[in-house]
């Protein structure tokens, strides 16, 4: 099969799943009280909102892939931009940080994605961790406001690392040169996104159906032990079943899927801790039913760099 045939097949399967999910959602809505007594209507409405949002998100991803590498880079640059907006909006900054924020949004973010497009791995991997790290505080210090200076600087650097640097590892997968796999890198990205995002969905479903034991209600009231184990195992099984679109053997696909699912889980967990600290439930309101963009991709931010490095050190020449 060619890459595009495989992509059509996978997207066909995902859209079919969404169709089934939508039908279930509509049925649940209709039969709410008879079918599942005790489930509040709000939960079902939220489920339907989530499913609808998935149609849009999968559609946009499909569009990006159809446009090719530049489409994917553009899509993730937008995702980064939106995430950074949400992150900084909830973070304390002061007047003296204004210029630093401008540099972050309008210089470092576009430059990072330009480096992805140019396949310049050396600078891509150090731009934000080294040059952003050193140059941005210089800009802040020129604002001559020392109130909580270290804290402000650190928070902004953290936001850039998560929202821009970590996320940019997804489209960067397109640049890896893997023997006997050329022209198929888009599938590697699909493997990462499908596995990690399905883990979120499986955790949600397992948690809603069988969740009994709360993991840590102080951080994320909806996460349960049953959801976590069921979700990660299901998503790992899905990842393993997708081995044929990757350069991995089935057992390698299983281990990699497990690693990125665990990282993805902790991505959601860590970012939830930040949300709780700021006293909010969601990062934003962009995606109906899910919250903000960062709520949707929090698991990707933690898994993408690890996945990128595993593939880069294990499979490229």
């Amino acid at each position: 099969m060619t890459t595009s045939e495989t992509l059509y097949g996978i997207f066909g399967a995902v859209f079919s799943m969404l169709l089934v999910a939508s039908l279930i959602g509509v049925t649940l809505k209709k039969l709410n009280h008879r079918l599942v007594p005790g489930v509040p209507p709000a939960v079902i409405d939220n489920l339907n909102a989530r499913i609808q949002a998935w149609w849009v998100m999968v559609g946009l991803l499909g569009l990006g892939l159809w446009l090719g590498e530049s489409g994917i880079i553009g899509l993730f640059a937008f995702v980064s931009f939106q995430c950074l907006r949400e992150f900084v909006s909830l973070t304390h900054t002061r007047r003296g940080d204004h210029r630093t924020l401008l540099w972050s949004f309008f210089f470092f973010l576009p430059l990072q994605y330009t480096l992805v497009a140019s396949h310049w791995y050396g600078l891509f991997s150090i731009l934000i961790p080294v040059y952003g790290f050193l140059l941005l505080p210089i800009s802040s210090s020129l604002g001559r406001d020392t109130t909580r200076f270290l804290e402000r600087t650190a928070k902004l650097q953290w936001g850039l690392m998560i929202c821009v640097y970590a996320l940019s590892h997804v489209p960067a997968l397109m640049a890896l040169e893997i023997p006997d796999y050329s022209g198929r890198n888009a599938l590697l990205m699909v493997f990462l996104l499908l596995t990690v995002q399905s883990s979120d969905v499986f955790q949600y479903v397992w948690g809603k159906l069988y969740g009994r034991h709360r993991l840590a209600s102080s951080i994320s009231p909806s996460k349960t032990l049953e959801g976590l184990i069921g979700g990660i195992l299901s998503a790992t099984a899905l990842g393993t079943a997708l081995w044929w679109i990757t350069p991995f053997r089935p057992w390698q696909a299983a281990i990699i899927a497990l690693i990125i699912n665990v990282m993805g889980f902790f991505g959601g967990y860590v970012l939830s801790a930040i949300k709780r600290d700021r006293g909010v439930k969601d990062w934003g309101t962009l995606i109906e039913g899910h919250g903000g963009m960062l709520d949707r991709v929090d698991s990707i931010t933690f898994s993408a760099p690890v996945f990128f490095h595993l593939v880069r050190y294990g499979w490229t020449v």
Binding site: R85, R95, H98, L102, F106
Partner: protein, 228 residues
């Protein structure tokens, strides 16, 4: 500025409809509001009331020139035409473009901040607007505040509330716009802004100036998200 000279003064009947839909101002206003919403991703939280077509004074914290536009942009269009921002004359009369925007598009009630006899003219224009059944957007701090919290309120809010006891005073907290486009900076940072509309207050009979102003100030401060 007299109200009857503007095309969107809610003229009744056919001519009013024609005036509203043929004039370019509503279009200019929609474009500006759309732009403001896009740039700020603004989210309106109607916590204590819902948008309603009745005379109200929306009073908000003031940290940016775009404040009133943001409030304006989240109001339903039919309410928007009847809601007039109170703005500083010295700023909005500086050139032809600003005069056009303030007078024809926003139908702003322009007040002179440097006038000597403060009680006479500025309140009169606001008074007339309320009498005509319009709502006002007011920044009782009187000037932009770059810090968190609120400055002390000017007394205009009290005088208007006392003269129009039936008018609802709706506190509106504007979050993040002052950070997105602070005083003296040209390029805005694309932060997400939110507006929180609190429960309306009304003037209570015999209420003193200090009591009402401090009640209003507290109601607005209660909407401020917790600092860190």
């Amino acid at each position: 500025m007299s109200k009857s000279k503007t095309p969107m003064s809610g003229l009744p009947g056919f001519r009013g409809v024609v005036a509203r839909y043929m004039a370019p101002e509503p279009f200019v206003a929609s474009v500006l509001c759309g732009f403001a919403r896009l740039l700020t991703g603004v989210r309106a939280v109607w916590l204590g009331c819902v948008p309603e077509n009745q005379p109200r004074i929306y009073f908000a914290n003031h940290s940016s020139h775009g404040d009133f536009l943001l409030i304006w942009s989240v109001l339903p269009p039919d309410l928007r035409w009847r809601t007039r921002p109170v703005a500083a004359a010295d700023y909005w009369q500086r050139d032809a473009l600003r005069r056009y925007l303030a007078q024809r598009v926003f139908r702003a009630v322009l007040v002179d901040r440097v006038v000597k006899h403060f009680h006479a003219s500025p309140l009169e224009a606001m008074d007339q607007a309320l009498h005509a059944g319009d709502s006002l957007i007011l920044f009782p701090e009187g000037t932009r505040n770059p810090e968190r919290g609120l400055l002390t309120f000017k007394s205009g809010l009290y005088h208007l509330a006392k003269a129009h006891p039936g008018v609802e005073l709706v506190p509106v907290w504007i979050e993040n716009l002052g950070r997105a486009m602070p005083k003296g900076s040209l390029i805005p940072v694309p932060l997400l802004c939110s507006l929180t509309f609190g429960s309306p207050l009304t003037f209570e009979r015999g209420e003193g100036k200090e009591t009402l102003l401090s009640r209003a100030r507290k109601a607005l401060l209660a909407l401020e998200p917790p600092g860190d």
